[in-house]
């Protein structure tokens, strides 16, 4: 009985520290992010908007993508913003442990807090960006339905997926310093292998099989579902492409597996970080 009380107290104090640290790191990161820049937090909006503008001009005006897609501008923006979030969490996460080597060598604190803090900072960014999406939704006259609430579980899925990959990459990076180059490459490939700048309808028209495979990736599934939830129920999703809702088990299962694997791997490696960095 005494040992149970002891255990509970121990767990409480363990997480107390993590929560205090997490809060402070997120606050610090938020304060430091645009410190010294004239436009400050506006950059959080300007960056995705600039990318969106470029993509919009090229793909919609010149290449005439998405002429058949309703509210393609909003659709494009949703894709860009969700993808950017994923990239931010994973690339920042990758370097987070190695980058804080000085702390690791001098203090004992739960190592995972550093990675989690990074993903929360990106989440704040994502929230700001979603406000922009909201404005576009209004300007474009998109008719919102209750479906839009589905964005919450979708972002949750994206959060878990991105964080898991960040855990895996950050722990691997301590040992293998090639990982950042590999990941950079994968991010680039991923950007074009995911229906972000081009509508999935284009892929379906060319090869339905390619579209089916493409949507098995959690990130493509999330982006398409988000478009479905916000813009129109006509947007092709994993379910409509396969005609079988059970196919959701593939991307969701993948997220679950990677989350468990990454957490275990990180947990196993983290006691040695101080020595290895």
């Amino acid at each position: 009985m005494k040992s149970i009380v002891n255990f509970i107290q121990k767990t409480q104090s363990k997480y107390r520290y993590s929560i205090i640290l997490l809060k402070q790191l997120v606050i610090t990161d938020f304060k430091l992010r645009y410190k010294g820049s004239a436009l400050g937090y506006l950059w959080s909006l300007l960056k995705p908007l600039a990318l969106f503008a470029v993509l919009y001009v090229i793909f919609v005006h010149f290449l005439r993508f998405g002429a058949d897609v309703p509210h393609f501008a909003v659709s494009l923006l949703i894709g860009v913003i969700l993808w950017n979030y994923f990239v931010e969490v994973t690339t920042n996460g990758l370097a987070s442990i190695v980058g804080r080597g000085d702390l690791m060598r001098k203090l004992s604190f739960p190592r995972y807090v550093i990675v989690v803090a990074g993903s929360f900072s990106a989440l704040i960014n994502l929230a700001i960006n979603l406000v922009v999406v909201g404005m576009f939704v209004l300007f474009n006259g998109v008719e919102l339905t209750w479906n839009a609430l589905l964005i919450i579980p979708l972002i949750f899925e994206l959060f878990i997926f991105a964080l898991s990959i960040a855990f895996l990459l950050s722990a691997l990076y301590v040992r293998f310093r090639d990982i950042n180059y590999i990941w950079e490459l994968m991010v680039q490939v991923g950007f074009y292998a995911t229906p972000i700048v081009y509508p999935i309808t284009l892929v379906i028209a060319a090869s339905p099989l390619a579209a089916q495979l493409m949507l098995l990736s959690p990130i493509a599934q999330i982006i398409q579902d988000a478009r479905w939830a916000i813009i129109s129920v006509d947007t092709p999703t994993l379910e409509s492409v396969y005609g079988n809702p059970l196919m959701y088990l593939v991307p969701l299962g993948f997220v679950a597996v990677i989350a468990i694997f990454s957490t275990l791997y990180f947990k196993k490696r983290s006691p040695g970080f101080a020595e290895e960095i």
Partner: protein, 404 residues
């Protein structure tokens, strides 16, 4: 843990694998998938360390550089995992391994207080309660809303020290000797803090190689050498054991051999007698045996004494002393004996003997740190030399004083 024990270190060993070829890139994994990558040397940093620290005890961990004491500190602090054994801690341990961990130059002093506090596990509320005391103690109130990068290094240390000392008032403290850095003013503050900790019966572990601090503050200590505990007991006993260790290990050895010269005349042997000095010794001898390998005339034999910080303290040569060695035939051996005044402060000293051609600067033989000696005074001043002074205070006729 039995009653009153707050830290219990049980049979802790730590091995470091020092890889000969680091597997830093994936290429090496792919290029040689079947090659064993375990080609590494195991360094035993700590072997079977066990001790207990009781509540309210000021406990010292002492040892020379490289003895393993810093590794032990990091294991107690939870930064390293022990390879074997366990450390159990009853209470909240606050490590002062370095002041101002995580300080960010782009944040203000105030923001850094909260960040640094959070890293030590203190919530915003806890820090709010003590914020004013921290600022008061640091004496830099005016600068709290300025960015840390505009602080002088002295101000940064002050702030860091204040955060650490004010916040960690109800905890077990693990203090590394780093606290002894800084200006004299700050050192005085540190020592005053140690005294206060001792008065308040705080549980403290102090890791140091400053025997004066051990004797003054610690109740009990352990001495670590070559990865093992070689002594445990009252502070005075450990301080004595530590000094003994130095005499045994450092004295009389011909240390790091750095020699240059044409070898026309060579230094065959050097000897310092006695090689352990204290303030009772006024003079000591340095003997050099030299051998000519060709016929030479009036080689200039000299020496220089330097301290551990490689500062030259004094030296001379036969030319300056106006002593001529005359002509040495090939194979001839001479002994040169110097009598040196002992003006040294506590520490280790090295002697660089040399032989130079007369009238030029051509070196026959120059042997850096050929010999060493240790000075262990009871009284010490913090200056480079520590000669014996006389001071007299006498009465003076009072009219001279009152006149003005």
């Amino acid at each position: 843990m039995d009653n009153g024990t707050v830290i219990s270190v049980k049979d802790v060993s730590k091995n470091f694998k020092l890889p000969h070829e680091r597997t830093d890139s994936l290429k090496s994994v792919f290029a040689h998938p079947f090659k064993s990558r375990s080609r590494s040397e195991t360094q035993h940093a700590l072997r079977n360390i066990s001790f207990d620290v009781k509540e309210g005890e000021f406990f010292g961990i002492v040892g020379r550089n490289g003895s393993g004491k810093s590794t032990l500190l990091k294991i107690i602090a939870g930064i390293y995992e022990p390879t074997k054994g366990s450390v159990s801690i009853n209470g909240r341990l606050v490590p002062f391994i370095e002041l101002g961990v995580g300080f960010n130059p782009d944040l203000t002093g105030r923001e850094n207080v909260y960040l640094n506090g959070a890293l030590m596990g203190f919530s915003r509320k806890e820090i709010n309660d003590k914020y004013n005391s921290i600022v008061d103690f640091s004496e830099i109130e005016r600068f709290m809303d300025q960015k840390l990068k505009n602080y002088s290094s002295g101000m940064q240390v002050r702030l860091a020290f204040s955060v650490a000392t004010i916040l960690a008032q109800s905890d077990i403290l693990l203090i590394d000797e780093v606290l002894a850095v800084g200006d004299a003013d700050f050192q005085a503050k540190c020592f005053a803090y140690f005294k206060q900790l001792k008065r308040d019966k705080k549980t403290v572990i102090l890791v140091t190689h400053d025997m004066n601090a051990v004797k003054e503050y610690c109740d009990r200590a352990i001495l670590i050498d070559e990865s093992k505990i070689i002594a445990e007991g009252p502070a005075s006993k450990i301080a004595a054991a530590y000094s003994k260790l130095f005499f045994e290990k450092e004295v009389g050895q011909k240390t790091r051999q750095l020699r240059r010269g044409s070898n026309t005349v060579t230094i065959q042997d050097v000897k310092v007698t006695p090689s352990k000095l204290n303030e009772k010794v006024d003079v000591f001898q340095f003997e050099m045996t030299i051998k000519a390998h060709e016929e030479v005339t009036n080689p200039v034999v000299g020496f220089m004494v330097k301290n551990q910080a490689a500062q030259s303290i004094y030296g001379t040569n036969t030319n300056i002393e106006e002593v001529r060695l005359g002509t040495l035939k090939a194979g001839e051996i001479k002994q040169v004996t110097w009598t040196l005044p002992n003006i040294f402060g506590k520490g280790i000293y090295y002697i660089d003997p040399s032989i130079i051609e007369e009238g030029t600067t051509a070196v026959y033989d120059w042997w850096e740190e050929a010999a060493s000696f240790v000075v262990h005074n009871e009284k010490n001043t913090p200056y480079i030399v520590n000669p014996r002074f006389k001071v007299e205070v006498t009465a003076k006729a009072s009219k001279n004083v009152s006149k003005k």
